[in-house]
Symmetry: C2
Subunit: 147 residues, 2 copies
DNA sequence: CATAGTTGATAATTATAAATATCAACTATT
DNA sequence: AATAGTTGATATTTATAATTATCAACTATG
């Protein structure tokens, strides 16, 4: 892992610091989380912390909402099209029993999947969430899986 | 072609008849068209005509807007993820010079593509538009192209 | 232990997307 | 030729998504 990557991933901003950076309210940040757009780091005390990667991600989401005029439910649906099953290399059998694969229109990281290959892994640490979910780049992901 | 198919495709409803069937105004229908969600049949006089398939399609779109709370721009972006290049079997070379393939976030049928494989074909008659663009089923299309 | 910041939940507000209305000019059909 | 319906364009209205405010209880940190 490069220095840059670990810098991007380190949860350092409190919710109020993140809100200030993003020029939005803390309530909006919690709303995005409730909607499943973001998965902030949580301390044992349940306090949220955001990394620079989180800030970048949220800026991207806000651009989709404010400039591209895509509603939050639209973004969720777009996220649901990320081919995580190809990224993490699910087997045919694993796909068959995965509720997300079989019809969810929510992001995979909002889907309870401790029955499948993801097990108890924290979605925040999964490459699907951390590296393959730029909200404005899902089409490229789709192209990359084509036979 | 089966009898059912040709029945579905036949442009028989005027815009006012279609609006009545769908319980919306004619203005809304023209708006959907301007936004690129639908491509109604046009007579030589420029008058629009809608088939039963069009009605079904619009009902599906309205369900996404009103029930799933996906904005029109969201639906456009979702449509842009339909892998038309796989459906119509574009070659690698054709994909390289296709502006839609290379980055458009609008439906392929709103993209001027008389430079590529589609040529001067009417999008309304293309299977991508007529058979592979159920707005609530794009995820299944994506799954079907995976290697 | 005191201050500043956090938590979740509910309510209120604001911004704007979606839908409709209006208009004059044009077209279809009887 | 007359009526009903169409066209596109602009303006207005309505519905509601997105955001913010408020609250009391709880937590972090100097």
């Amino acid at each position: 892992m490069t220095k840059t990557d670990s810098t991007l991933d380190k949860p350092i901003y409190t919710i109020s610091a993140a809100a200030k950076l993003l020029n939005i309210s803390v309530h909006t940040l919690r709303m995005y989380e409730r909607e499943g757009l973001i998965v902030p780091f949580k301390k044992e005390s349940n306090q949220r912390l955001y990394s620079q990667g989180d800030i970048d991600r949220i800026n991207c989401i806000r651009n989709e909402i404010n400039e591209s005029k895509i509603s939050i439910n639209g973004i969720k649906t777009i996220y649901s099209m990320i081919p995580c099953w190809d990224i993490v290399k699910c087997t045919k059998k694993e796909r068959e029993k995965c509720g997300f694969f079989n019809g969810s229109n929510l992001p995979c990281w909002t889907y309870n999947h401790n029955q499948n290959i993801c097990g108890t892994k924290t979605c925040r640490d999964c490459i699907v969430y951390s590296q393959y979910s730029e909200c404005n780049n899902v089409k490229e992901l789709i192209k990359s899986i084509a036979r």
